[in-house]
Symmetry: C2
Subunit: 290 residues, 2 copies
């Protein structure tokens, strides 16, 4: 089947006018008191964020499981609720889980991501090898879903192993090359593949090089906004298509979730206004650099 996820992402970015992905990193110390106390703030906060994202129009949302799991099983259950709400709002869900394991264990993680969470794509770590990605790829291929593989990440330590020289080229390029068959398996009617590659906005030269190596892979670009990269850097791996520059989604989390003043908002309406403003500003910033 043609990859529905890839097509939804590309069409969503076109419809929204910018390839913005809203990252859901719920940090209870920064969520306004009007959402309640402690971990109980999380579901309401995320639901309101999703409503603002849907209203504004964005390409995808990316719940970051580590922030939910910090609160144990209750946090995990909250992540399931948040994904159900995102699905109800028809927002494509990229579950940021960064899982990776062998055989039956990977099957468990894949079942969790696509079935329990109802995710449209899930982030995975390639270190253990291609066989460990297969449970994700086979489900994604059969059901028109996506898989987002860590290739060149946005953190300073990315250089430690990803940049090591393997016969004249960095390791991350070897990972990208090895994923070519997977990209072909998840090809959408749009000409883009549901095999996403994570390419940090903080390394635009690497993103351009990755685009040459993986011409059909949608990029999942972290590092825009709070991590320091601007729109130009974030879009370095995007290419000119018939409808403008495209090629993935750019994620912003903290800059959208905790814009100046929002933490001290007194009313939901005031908070919603600040969030809507932050999303609009990020979309305009990305659109101007497209």
């Amino acid at each position: 089947m043609s990859n529905d996820f890839a097509d939804r992402i590309i069409e969503g970015a076109r419809a929204a006018g910018a390839p913005l992905c809203v990252g859901l990193d719920p940090d209870v110390s920064r969520i306004p008191a009007l959402f309640g106390d402690g971990a109980a703030k999380i579901p309401g906060f995320c639901q309101a964020m999703l409503e603002e994202a849907a209203k504004a129009g964005v390409a995808a949302v990316k719940p970051q499981l580590g922030y939910f799991e910090a609160h144990g099983a209750a946090g995990y259950a909250a992540a399931e609720l948040v994904c159900a709400e995102a699905a109800r709002l028809r927002l494509p869900i990229i579950l940021d889980a960064k899982r990776g394991d062998i055989g039956a264990t990977a099957e468990g993680y894949a079942a969790s991501a696509y079935d329990n969470f109802g995710a449209d794509a899930v982030t995975v770590n390639p270190y253990m090898g291609l066989d460990t990605l297969e449970p994700f790829l086979s489900r994604a291929q059969a059901r028109g879903k996506g898989v987002a593989v860590l290739v060149r990440t946005s953190n300073p330590g990315a250089k430690d192993f990803q940049d090591l020289d393997v016969n004249g080229a960095p390791l991350w390029t070897r990972v990208a090359e090895a994923l070519a068959p997977a990209a072909a398996r998840l090809m959408g009617a749009s000409g883009w593949s549901g095999l996403m590659m994570v390419a940090g906005a903080t390394y635009p030269e690497e993103a351009r090089r990755l685009r040459d190596l993986a011409p059909t892979a949608l990029f999942l670009v972290p590092g825009y906004g709070a991590q320091g990269a601007g729109a130009k850097e974030a879009l370095a791996g995007f290419v000119q298509g018939p409808r403008g520059r495209e090629g993935g989604v750019v994620n912003a989390s903290r800059s959208l979730l905790y814009p100046p003043g929002a933490e001290r908002a007194k009313t939901l309406a005031e908070w919603r206004g600040l969030i809507a403003q932050a999303i609009a500003a990020a979309k305009a910033d990305l659109a101007s650099a497209l």
Copy 2:
């Protein structure tokens, strides 16, 4: 502080007479009907396994989170219960989560592992770089806990990236070398470090080479039993100490959880007998090869 986890593992293996780690991979299709139906089987099955492990004497237990997460938030909560029970039985817990992420997200996963689950060690993936391991290492150092880093895994696909040649040596050796400062930080009074390295039993030559590169790292050895490696291969990275050969733990999961006949056991007593037999056989097999 001296690393309490490293010392507990080494002393536990000595006391047990074999460095056996019992892997908890609850597969509901293979758990006997006497434990109930579907995912509800998991807590009782795991608790009974832990009781048999404690009775027999083993070095550690390793709950495999993917098997629990396959059942969503209820499965995640079951994993928390199972870890609490393991702690009550004073069994060192190596939480097999294979997490890895940047900054605050990694903090969330580390809090989840050590605080919510009460794990004594947690498996992590090094691909994203040393900064992504720091939240685990700093907690482990402050609290005498362990961190088990994937170095050379037991699956066939391990060769895809871990074996790539980096200036004359495979990538996994570069990972091991980069972990030397971390191993020093988690040093125990036993002379062994709470910085564990995952070294698959299916690759004994690699394990011997890893031992030369990381003389103080405890090895977490998967792949013994159902994955095909024997005791001799599993112990390839162990070295002669004052009290016999030592250097880590050898994990067995399916061969202990689902021994012949156990799936059709009619009574708990019958099932317990088969499990006790399987654990005793694995311990004797490992002891004979020490």
